[in-house]
Amino acid sequence: MELTRRQALAGAGGMAMGGLLPGLALGQTSPGAPQRGGTLTVQLTSEQRVLNPAIQASTGVYVMASKIVEPLVDLDAAGEPTGVLAERWESAADGLTHTFFLRRGVTWHDGKPFTAKDVQFSAMECWKKILNYGTTLYQFLDAVETPDDHTAVFKFSRPMPQGLLLRALPDLGHVIPAHVYAGTDIRASPANTAPIGTGPFKFAEYQRGQYLMAERNPNYWRGGGLPYLDRIVWRFIADRAAAAAAVESGQVQFSPYSGLSLSDIARLSKDARFTVGTKGNEGNTAHTVTEFNLRRKELSDVRVRRAIAHALDLDFFIENFLYGYAKVGTGAIPSSSAAFYVPRPAPYPFDRVKAEALLDEAGYRRPSRNGQRFAQPLKLLPAPWGEYTLNFATFIQQSLREIGIRVEIEARDAPGFLTGVYRAHEFDLTTGWHQYRNDPAVSTTVWFRTGSPVGAPWTNQYGYANPAMDAVIDAAATELDAAKRKALYQDFVRLAIEDLPVHTAVEHAFISVYSKRLMGSHNTPRWASSSWHDAWLAPA
């Protein structure tokens, strides 16, 4: 009985679809046409226990919650902003006013209509006050006016470049329902783990430590039979060997964000059943970096920091430790950023002789032929984010030994690492990931500017302060002329290389591993963090 009703519904969906898109309905038998139905199972290495992207900006949140809660704007296949909850936008010439014309006929999963009041509430109460990175980006957002239910006018007290705002919104622009959150403690709201949104999938069930499940939203505003999938299940599998087994056995169809070990990724890339690659992750480029704590006397000398950078044979590291899934970093803005990247050579090529000469020049000579240059070893805290950062820590230890600097690695779990580095500052070196999100002002310049409160993770907590750096960052964030902005960011990159508070050593895109059955996927630059409304599963 149940089955026949489902079949009947599927048939009705097919007919409705046929009316709009005749090619699709006829294409049920051809392999290239989208098919309705099916459950997509996704493997995640960890869970963040927050499903509200309006208060926590992190790929770990987007990979789940952005199917349920949608942003105003996302990026299209070419990496250009495309409207989601906003249909179109216009900006005043002075950059102080940005008007968003919102999509009509959109309803929340609980049936209430989506209006400009929701945008106003999300922007003023969440993005500006709570959201990490948002508190910096929206600090000069004075008000969001709502002349009618379908228009939201963003008023800034300092110029906001339209390009920056539009490239920030896919990450820092998710809209949550005001009627659910208003008047409550937003951080403690139960809706943060059972979200209500406008997206193609509705929250169904969340079992901590096990899985999250979302069901198809039949009233999705895009219509046309979208979304194609019936259900998405995210399974939390921390052990990478078990995750690889789940992918191979077909229990999981998609492992995003380099969730498998690199050796398994290399192995599965030769398996015809899977697609392995970085396509669809261009908008989530990361640098594997070394942060230097400038409070340590030896490291406060830029010559020592440069010597350490010169001591690392990054080509060897990438080829042999990272299976070639990366390239040498050339500066704080990665080469994947079409709008802001200017090609330049690797700033600190491997040169052990030069490294030793720099250390001698700084006054840290070897007391004997194999002696230590520093009285105390350097304490290195590796970020526990997986192979890139852990292997890089060992590689730094091995490389610095050759130039007479002893490094002691102190392994910590994630909370211990974040507290130790960003609050207690009890480190000399760290390895970590810095993610670039489409525009340097979104989440890159905070690594170099002063003024981040102590304890704010993934910010400048290494005691680096250069007024010239702060000035160029501030000028670029409010510069409306695109060409001038790009030029300012070249100054920023040059200064970051020169001062070297952070060595952006290795640039890599995240690697997706997915079944060839998963179609309509990886077609935008931040696909894993997008809504998946057009993804579908081919029959097994």
Binding site: R240, A241, A244, S261, L262, S263, D264, A266, R267, N320, F321, P384, E387, L390, N391, A393, T394, F395, Q397, Q398, S399, R401, E402, E408, I409, E410, A411, D413
Partner: protein, 276 residues
């Protein structure tokens, strides 16, 4: 001398002793055979054993010479085993002796504390200690000793309970010996044989516990311990299994050696097994 002869009559004991001597020889010859720092980059990572004559057992996924790592790792493992056993047996003997000798409320109190420790699984307690006090080698070694003291404690207490009212103890007491003299001079030497046997097992357990910690990435990453290499090799287990298997075999050999030595000692020290 009689004990040595008794020991040599046990085939298990002989095999164990040979293996143990081999492990100790590896530890002692490490600097001479592999003068290079075992943690250093020795060559391209993931070279199979035998592929490069300079690196007979190949390299792990961090480019370290596996052969050198195994030899230097023998030192770390033996050191951890020895120190952790001394800590565990030391505490165990002290608490067990006092509890067993005095009995009464002292025994009750000490045994309730012991039980409190016994109810928490060893490894969970170890994880907590490492999380709180950090993962330097010294801390880990002492922590392993701390989680393992309850078994020798129970053993010593039981021996003391049966020995304290024997005639020779009563005679010594009648001679006016003080409690400390009685415990150390009379009862303890007679209670020691099972403790010595158990200490060899403790060493094996200590080595295994450190390996388990390292497997989870919670041991001291700055020392060349076998567990560290197994943990590092875990991510390449499906393709380059030898990175985990070779240190695994080293641990197996060492643990087996200690267990067999323990069995040999048991045979030698057990009065019922002695051939008159």
């Amino acid at each position: 001398m009689k004990a040595v002869r008794a020991y040599l009559r046990s085939p298990a004991g002989i095999i164990g002793a040979v293996l143990l001597v081999a492990v100790i020889a590896a530890a002692l010859s490490a600097d001479w055979l592999f003068p290079r720092d075992p943690m250093a980059l020795a060559g391209r990572p993931l070279q199979w054993p035998g592929a490069n004559p300079r690196l007979p057992l190949g390299t792990d996924n961090l480019g370290r010479d596996i052969a050198g790592f195994i030899f230097h790792g023998a030192r770390v493992s033996l050191l951890i085993g020895l120190v952790a056993s001394v800590v565990a047996v030391g505490i165990g003997v002290l608490v067990g002796a006092v509890a067993g000798f005095y009995g009464g409320w002292v025994d009750d109190l000490l045994m309730r504390i012991t039980e409190a420790f016994q109810t928490v699984p060893n490894f969970i307690l170890l994880l907590v200690l490492v999380a709180v006090f950090g993962s330097e080698l010294e801390v880990i070694t002492i922590a392993i000793g701390l989680v393992g003291w309850t078994a020798p404690c129970r053993l010593v207490r039981a021996e003391f309970l049966s020995l304290r009212s024997r005639e020779f103890v009563l005679a010594a007491r009648g001679l006016g010996m003080r409690d400390a003299q009685l415990i150390l001079g009379e009862v303890l030497p007679n209670a020691l044989p099972p403790v010595i046997v158990y200490a060899s097992v403790t060493m094996a357990i200590a080595i295994l516990l450190e390996s388990a910690l390292a497997f989870l990435g919670l041991s001291d990453p700055n020392v060349a311990s076998w567990g560290n290499m197994i943990g590092a090799g875990r991510s390449v287990l499906r393709t380059e299994w030898y990175v985990s298997a070779i240190p695994g075999a080293a641990i197996l050999t060492t643990v087996l050696a200690f267990s067999l030595v323990g069995q040999g000692l048991n045979d030698a020290l057990n009065p019922r097994m002695q051939v008159l």
